[in-house]
Structure formats: C-alpha cells, structure tokens
Subunit: 110 residues, 2 copies
Amino acid sequence: MTTAHLDATFMALADPTRRAILARLAQGEATVMELVAPFKLSQPAISKHLKILERAGLITRGRDKQKRPCRIEPQPLAEANQWLESYRKLWEANFARLDDLLDELKQQKP
Amino acid sequence: MTTAHLDATFMALADPTRRAILARLAQGEATVMELVAPFKLSQPAISKHLKILERAGLITRGRDKQKRPCRIEPQPLAEANQWLESYRKLWEANFARLDDLLDELKQQKP
DNA sequence: AGGTTGTATAACCGATGGGAAATATACGAG
DNA sequence: CTCGTATATTTCCCATCGGTTATACAACCT
C-alpha cells in the first residue's frame, strides 16, 4: 500500500459522517438519497463525502437506472487495518520491554 | 471511544510525516530535534505535527532539562484499531454472505 | 415533448491544515 | 549575565475541507 493510499484512507475515516455512511453501507448497498435521509445534510454534501470515500477506494458505485448505488470495498480497509495492527503490535512489544525493564529495576532495589 | 476521539486519531494518521514520526517513536522516545533530523521540514513544522499527535492522544511528552521527549501512547491506536477491526469483520461477513449467495445461484443453474 | 426524480457540478464561504520564517521562551553552560 | 541550545509561538501564505444554495445533467414516466 502506498503512502498516498494510506493518506486518503485515514483522511476519509477522519469524518463522522463518512464513518456513518460506511456503517450504513455495511448493511448493504444504498443509493445517494438513501444515504442522505438519515442526516441533516444536503444531498450535495453527501455526494462530496461519497466522492472522498470513492477517491480512497473505500466504496465503489454501480449504475441502476438513474441511481448510483454505493457499496463498500473492503480491501483498503483491510490494508489500513494491517498498518495499524502491525504498528500496534510493535508498540505494545516496546511497552512490554519497558515493563520488563521496570520490573528488573524494581527487583534490583526493593 | 467518542466520535471526536476517532476523528482526531484518524486525522492524525492521515499524514505521512506523522506516521513516520510514530514509526520513529516505535523504536523509543525521541526529542523534537531528533525527530526533525530525518525530515526536510523545519522545526516548527514538526512541532505542529507533534501537537496534532498529542491532541489525538497518540503521544505524550515528558520533561528532561530543556528537552521534551515524546513517546507513543498505545491506547488510542488500539481503539482505532478496534473500530477498524470490527467494521472490517462486519464487511467481510457481508461479502461472505454475498459469496454464499453467488455460490447458491451458480449451483441452481449450472 | 414536458415533468419528475436522482445525482453531479459550480460557485461561494468560513475554518483548518501544512508549510516557511521570524521571534519568543526556557534552560543549561561558562 | 551572556551565550547557545531546545522548543514553542506567532505571523503569514496557499490549498483543501465541509458545508451551503443554485444549477445542470440524466434517466425515467406520461
């Protein structure tokens, strides 16, 4: 995964409206108007969010008559998840080492 | 984890410089100047990034004489990870169901 | 063809991000 | 006290975000 790709993915996730859209899409495809409904936002506002999600590859859009149904694309999420996971493990390993060190120090001077 | 907290965390992760800083800090504490060194950026630029990371709770800073060593705080990362993970699982479950459906359809009409 | 619904685009606005440069502050060394 | 180092803060710039309203485009239905 390129750095730019991670940029776009995390940036797309950094907005509550977009995370809510993703949560909604987790239950299945939805049209733009169906996504507009639950929010107090205008349709263009939602379309903008969808474009950002699309740019990050988090969703793709089909064509059904004049509707453009959105669906989730799980791969970029998996990649972001992988990045987070690997660093989390690394950090936790570091903290474990730190804990070990502290334990050692405590034992040396009780 | 509050929505605002997730906002700040993902926003902080959406910049390659900040991710690089986190990667550097994964190897242990570092001062501001040590973090400035590997980049072509000015010191104030790095200080800004550190402030954003601090705001998201991803790092904390100590005090050692006139230095302000930065260290990683793993908890918010774990929380972001948890959010991603849960949605990823949900989406993958959805895709699995879709796959099952497709398999079923294939078997019906071979 | 004309009207309606679904979606996208444009133009605009205020807030914020990411950067540079300059300056201020805080601390330690001599 | 002064100098140098480490860091923070201020000021300024430009680009982008997130929202609005108004408008255009596209596809369906009479």
